[in-house]
């Protein structure tokens, strides 16, 4: 039972409303589930299929730690910033016990196994200093009773001045002592002897070394403490029972801070990870024997071992969990929305998959499916080895644009250097054969300075000839790129297409900032600092100019459908302007500090997000009506940087007039803290129900209640057929009797001898008229298997008969009297989850 008591909870401040599976705590109960604290929720993943099995909500604030109950591995403790500790049955997602602890800001906790069965907590200072550094470790005695709201007030301070992070506290073998690190001090407290030993390292930074502790773990079987340091060293402490004669040895491979450490279950191997995104495995605590698992994608934040030692999992800074085999082989990864350093590309919707496209891993473009909360794929744009090292000038993706059908993708990458951005414009073609984008054209330094905006002229009806790409740059020009067909005179060998520059336009040597095509593609609007210029896309003549001084143009877009004669622009000085293209006059303007301007591709609506004194507000309007359709003040506290309309698969029925504009597409926002948010017309409960009621089907075959009913029906028909003397070939799966199932699902080493099973097996395959003998045998077997369920079954049966026969009668030809095996079947059906029906 000691298995997982070592590392308790660990939390990570992550977006709360974000749909991204944010990282948190990982724990493997019987190596099949992975638990993870994510925002206000605890997520349960299947290790085999990587899917989210359950989402356990109930905490009112960020979940700071989760920990398996050392006495029962099917139960889980979770702690949260709202001051409660909950005990969950995570198989069913039911909270068993809630302990409210009141007013604490931070809590991480460590349930201790042992006689006193208390829970130790790391609590923030009891005074309300939000940024106070002093944290205390206190022990709390939890009452045994199973109630919903328990107050636990028995507190006793164990350690003062501990580190705030979970990584700064570790428990020794069998809970004999607790270790805490902070800055350069290591404290060890022995519970039985009530002894506190304190060890300090020198604060002097020698040779650039930084002695501060970053994490601590304890050996599971020996008295040994491993600490990680900011300079990449790992120290192994022994003999710390004595204040003077303690010893330590040093392991050094990491060149930067050691983010986390983990011992294997036996304690023979030590795993360490850091910003290098390399998992290092040290054997027998010696520095000469080590293995590496390199290129894990992004810095390692947490490392966790499963209780049986078969798997290890690392949690990365970019919101990803990697599961690694015990032989240090990459097994699989669980990832949702990858958190990138900076979303420069904006939120773009892939017309083909309707996935949200944005920066992913460094140099990659991630396609994130909103429906399944999964990353569809990651496209390597930069195609260079990423070196995880601070201070390097990395090149990254800054602009992305899709053509209307999604056949062409244009990307711009630049390095972080200010003077020489090393620009590259790449054009990718979607090949149907490989089902992915292939690089078609690469243009080095398309502009002499940073590219500010890019758009395709996307017209479905005119075909490929109309495809034009426009880029605007800070080098005061905008460039028009067209496809050039590069055919053989024969025209049959291979038709290759490449892109080249067709037109370069400029306006009074002002920097070009934004570009946008009208809906029919005939006009191009390019904003040059204060001025918006409108160009004819056929002849590239300047048609007219607009400006609304003072203030540079921040955003422009054309109206759509019935409002296509309007051009909308937002300026730095807080004006939203609407110009009429027919009269070349200002139609209306509003004083709003617009940060984001996003037109809906399927309707006339335009969403504008304003930012005023620490709150974002949303305005949805039609250009032909100066009065907005919808206003949501104080949308969120964070600054919204990007927005995107994602078309819905089918128009949603929205009763409320207020949200009618959300019928065809859904609006998503990304804030500066990289939280992805959406406007939902439903309440929180409604949204949660489908996901939280999802049930993992344990059988290897997907069994739905419908298939069971159908199977029954067919079975009866078959019986009738046999009565009539027709030979019937039975499908094996249809009559997979409990005996066969038992035979197949029981591990070989616990099965009885084959001679014993033989009769049961053969009987179960017999087609008897009455199904009597086989059923009886089957019952026996099933009874054996359901012994655990115990007595409660008896009570259910009577109720069931009344309830569940009624749907059966609908099928007709049903005998009212049920045999015992049928009752069993019915009972099984009752246990099934019917929530999926609610979806229809």
């Amino acid at each position: 039972s000691r298995g997982f008591a070592r590392r308790c909870s660990r939390g990570l401040r992550l977006p709360r409303s974000a749909r991204a599976p944010s990282a948190g705590v990982t724990a493997f109960p019987p190596c099949r589930y992975l638990l993870c604290a994510s925002g206000d929720f605890v997520k349960v993943y299947s290790v085999n299929t990587e899917e989210t099995l359950r989402l356990m909500g109930g905490h009112a604030d960020l979940v700071t730690g989760i920990q398996l109950n050392p006495h029962n591995h099917m139960q889980l403790y979770s702690s949260s910033l709202d001051g409660t500790i909950k005990l969950w049955d995570f198989m069913d997602g039911i909270p068993i016990k809630v302990s409210s602890l009141g007013f604490y800001l931070h809590l991480h906790f460590y349930p201790l196994s042992g006689p006193h069965s208390s829970v130790l907590l790391l609590v923030s200072d009891r005074f309300f200093f939000l940024w106070s550094d002093t944290f205390q470790l206190v022990s709390v005695k939890l009452t045994k009773g199973a109630g919903q709201d328990l107050e636990s007030k028995e507190l006793s301070v164990v350690l003062d001045g501990v580190g705030a992070s979970v990584k700064h506290i570790a428990f020794g073998r069998e809970g004999a002592y607790v270790v805490s690190v902070k800055d350069v001090t290591l404290q060890v407290y022995f519970f039985k002897r009530k002894l506190l030993n304190r060890f300090s390292l020198s604060t002097v930074k020698t040779k650039g070394g930084d002695n501060r502790f970053s994490c601590v773990v304890c050996h599971p079987t020996e008295d040994c403490i491993a600490t990680g340091h900011a300079d990449g060293k790992i120290r192994l402490w022994r003999n710390f029972h004595h204040r003077k004669e303690y010893t330590y040895s040093t392991l050094h491979w990491h060149h930067d801070i050691v983010m986390d450490l983990a011992f294997s279950v036996e304690g023979t191997r030590l795993l360490s990870g850091g910003v290098e995104s390399v998992l290092v495995q040290w054997h027998n605590e010696s520095s000469c024997q080590k293995d590496f698992l390199p290129r894990l994608g992004s810095p390692i934040e947490y490392i966790s071992m499963s209780s049986d030692g078969a798997l290890c999992c690392t949690l990365h800074t970019d919101n990803r969990i990697t599961i690694i085999n015990s032989n240090l082989r990459f097994s699989r990864s669980i990832q949702g929305l990858i958190k990138s350093r900076d979303v420069k590309t904006g939120l773009v919707v892939d017309p083909r998959t309707k996935a949200l496209v944005l920066n992913g891993e460094p140099g990659h473009l991630q396609f994130y499916s909103l429906q399944s909360d999964q990353q569809l794929f990651s496209l390597d744009i930069v195609q260079r080895q990423y070196i995880h090292q601070a201070g390097l000038k990395q090149s990254d993706l800054v602009k992305v644009a899709f053509s209307a059908q999604g056949t062409w993708l244009a990307t711009v990458e630049e390095s972080e250097e200010v003077t020489d951005p090393e620009l590259q414009l790449k054009l990718w073609f979607y090949s149907e054969e490989t089902q992915s984008f292939t690089l078609n054209t690469r243009i080095n330094t398309p502009h002499d300075n940073h590219i500010t905006d890019m758009c395709f002229r996307d017209m479905d009806e005119l075909g490929d000839d109309s495809l034009i790409l426009v880029t605007t740059g800070r080098d005061c020009v905008f460039k028009v790129w067209v496809m050039v067909e590069d055919t053989d005179p024969e025209g049959k060998t291979h038709e290759s297409v490449s892109w080249s520059c067709d037109f370069v336009g400029s306006y009074h040597n002002y920097q070009a900032t934004n570009c946008c095509f009208s809906e029919d593609g005939s006009l191009l609007a390019v904003s040059f600092e204060e001025t918006v210029t409108v160009w004819d896309s056929l002849t590239w003549d300047l048609k007219c100019t607009f400006c609304h001084p003072p203030g540079n143009i921040r955003n422009i877009c054309f109206g759509r459908l019935t409002c296509s004669k309007y051009l909308i622009g937002a300026t730095d000085y807080g004006f939203l302007c609407c110009w009429n293209l027919l009269t070349c006059a200002l139609e209306w303007s509003a004083h709003l500090n617009i940060v984001v301007l996003q037109p809906d591709p399927l309707s006339e609506h335009i969403a504008a997000v304003s930012w005023l004194s620490k709150e974002s507000s949303l305005f949805v309007f039609k250009p032909n009506e100066p009065r907005p359709l919808y206003i949501q003040r104080n949308l969120c506290k964070e600054k919204i940087l990007l927005a995107a309309f994602v078309p819905r698969d089918e128009p949603e029925t929205i009763s409320s007039e207020k949200y009618l504009w959300l019928r065809k597409s859904q609006l998503f926002f990304l804030t500066d803290t990289q939280e992805l948010m959406t406007l939902s017309t439903k309440s929180l409960e409604e949204r949660l129900t489908p996901s939280s009621k999802q049930l993992a089907v344990e059988e290897s075959l997907p069994v739905t209640p419908f298939s069971l009913l159908l199977g029954k029906h067919r079975h009866q028909q078959a019986q009738e057929d046999t009565d009539l003397g027709k030979p019937v070939v039975h499908n094996k799966q249809e009559q997979a009797s409990p005996a066969v199932k038992e035979l197949l699902h029981t591990p070989a080493h616990v099965l009885p001898s084959a001679s014993f099973l033989c009769t049961i097996f053969i009987n179960s395959l017999l087609i008897s008229k009455e199904n009597k003998s086989a059923e009886e045998v089957a019952d026996e077997v099933e009874m054996e298997s359901e012994k655990a369920d115990g007595d409660s079954d008896e009570e259910d049966v009577t109720v069931m008969e009344q309830e569940d026969t009624s749907p059966m009668e609908l099928l007709g030809e049903m005998t009212c009297k049920l045999s015992k095996s049928q009752e069993k079947e019915l009972r099984k059906i009752r246990k099934m989850d019917y929530s999926w029906i609610a979806a229809f």
Binding site: Q385, P489, E490, H548, C584, A585, L586
Partner: protein, 520 residues
């Protein structure tokens, strides 16, 4: 988990002529054989039967050359004056030729004296040809007439006098034994049917017609005259299909290749152009020393023979097909070893273990993977890489710079290596695609090795070379900028008018907006 990504070496697209199937095909000829004739070569005709001898008409002689002979294997010289247009019959046994005095001679290829002589033209005959029934000859003369002759009786069958100028070229249809066409200096091409009394079709070419050609199918007609080659659809009544203007002097001769897929035209501008007959675009062209008068291609395109105005016969033979000797030499593993295990289909109960695919990395990539910067730089400074693929060296330098280890990789080198480095930098720094990277490299080298300047004569010399190269480049760029400035002023004068109208437009827009603002 991602695999190591090798360094991306930026390939530069090669400028200049594109290598296509056609260029490869038409380049596959040996260096030409030049044979001097007595006068301008007005006609070359290949015998349609093996061994594909060819008759060359120049001045008063007809020479017959064998395929590889540089000396004529036979000569017909019984002409009082210039001979014209010696043409083989379909079976390759008879040869007809016109002459300056207006007579047409028919020769047996194996004999010497003419078999028949057709008298009737009053002026030189520049055109002689056999109809496809083999028993009739058509001819065209400078007396504006085109005649049809019967070979057995040596009599004139019919005479057409429809042209109004010299008849200089013609061609018989291969599908219809009665049809032949003639081209004349009166700018027309006429199609005659021997069964009718007058021409069936007249096509206006627009220039004196120098050469005509019928496609084997008989449906398309090609005429050459002036600088133009025109293709006509005969079946549509002589509709112009395409007009090609690829020569800059008069086109004198036309010829189809054996497959009928390519059309060749020779011109006084010393070029032979090869067109695709599907797209009518030039797929290849040959260059010759002097103006071309006649052109012929042997069956299977084995030989191209071109006759010039100065009497030089240019003969090009096709290179023998390179039979992939290398593959024969290289011993392949036995078929059995190769196939072993490949065809095995895993059964249902088999447990498949996939073999990891071995990725082959270049040496520098292996070193970069293990972060050995100096060694990686050493690997790309080896002469074969540095000389032939400088882009690889530069790409690795760029990668090192990106990793921030370029300085340490460049440092700590001995005299020989610094010399090597500097040679490379001085030579390549002026290439625009390498300049950004190599300027940084040069900067670093000068920084690092500044203290040791003066200790080695070789290195000092290289530094001076580098300085010289950069100085030259700066001068060059300055000059370019000057030219650009001049051009700008020129362009500015051209576009002045347009600009003013834009200005007006802009001012209009702004004033309007200000007005509306005031309204608000």
């Amino acid at each position: 988990m991602a695999a190591y990504k090798p360094v991306v070496v930026q390939a530069c697209p090669k400028l200049g002529e594109k290598i296509t199937q056609d260029t490869l095909y038409w380049r596959g000829y040996k260096t030409p054989v030049q044979i001097k004739e007595f006068g301008a070569i007005n006609k070359i005709d290949f015998s349609p039967v093996p061994p594909y001898n060819y008759a060359v008409t120049a001045s008063s002689r007809i020479h017959i050359y064998g395929r590889y002979s540089q000396e004529p294997i036979k000569t017909f010289s019984r002409f009082r004056d210039a001979a014209y247009c010696a043409t083989y019959r379909d079976d390759g046994r008879l040869l007809a030729a016109g002459s300056e005095d207006g007579s047409i001679c028919l020769f047996d290829v194996s004999g010497k004296a003419p078999l028949r002589q057709f008298e009737g033209h009053t002026k030189p005959v520049h055109l002689v040809g056999f109809l496809s029934d083999k028993y009739r000859i058509f001819s065209g003369g400078d007396d504006y007439s085109s005649n049809l002759w019967d070979i057995p009786s040596a009599t004139e069958i019919i005479s057409y006098s429809e042209h109004t100028d010299y008849v200089r070229c013609g061609c018989a249809s291969k599908v219809n034994a009665d049809v032949f066409i003639t081209g004349s200096y009166d700018h027309t091409v006429k199609l005659f049917d021997a069964r009718t009394k007058s021409s069936v079709l007249t096509i206006e070419h627009g220039h004196p017609v120098e050469s005509v050609l019928l496609f084997p199918s008989g449906g398309l007609l090609v005429s050459a005259g002036g600088r133009y080659v025109k293709v006509w659809d005969v079946l549509k009544g002589g509709q112009l299909l395409v007009s090609l203007k690829n020569h800059h002097k008069t086109v004198t001769c036309l010829c189809l290749n054996s497959s009928g897929q390519r059309l060749l035209s020779g011109s006084l501008d010393r070029h032979v152009k090869i067109y695709s007959t599907t797209s009518y675009k030039v797929v290849h062209s040959f260059n010759y020393a002097t103006s071309i008068l006649s052109l012929a291609l042997s069956p299977e395109d084995e030989t191209i023979v071109v006759g010039m105005t100065n009497g030089v016969l240019n003969v090009k033979h096709r290179k023998p097909e390179e039979k992939s000797e290398n593959t024969q030499k290289k011993r392949q593993p036995a078929y059995r070893t190769y196939v072993k295990g490949r065809t095995y289909m895993p059964k249902q109960e088999d447990f498949c273990v996939s073999k990891p695919v071995k990725r082959v990395l270049r040496k520098y990539d292996k070193l970069l993977r293990s972060f050995q910067s100096s060694k990686a730089l050493d690997a790309v400074l080896e002469p074969p890489i540095m000389l032939h693929t400088p882009e690889v060296t530069v790409a690795v330098m760029q990668e090192l710079h990106r990793r921030g280890t370029l300085r340490s990789a460049l440092a700590g080198r001995d005299e020989k290596q610094v010399n090597l480095l500097l040679t490379f930098v001085a030579r390549r720094v002026i290439e625009p695609r390498f300049t950004p990277v190599l300027v940084t490299v040069a900067d670093m080298i000068t920084d690092i090795y500044q203290p040791v300047v003066g200790q080695s004569a070789i290195v000092d010399k290289q530094f001076l070379k580098l300085q010289e190269a950069i100085g030259k480049e700066i001068d060059y760029q300055e000059e370019l900028l000057e030219v650009l400035g001049m051009m700008d002023t020129l362009f500015a004068t051209f576009t002045k008018k347009k600009d003013t109208c834009l200005e007006e437009n802009k001012s209009n827009g702004v004033t309007e907006i200000i007005e509306t603002n005031m309204n608000f």
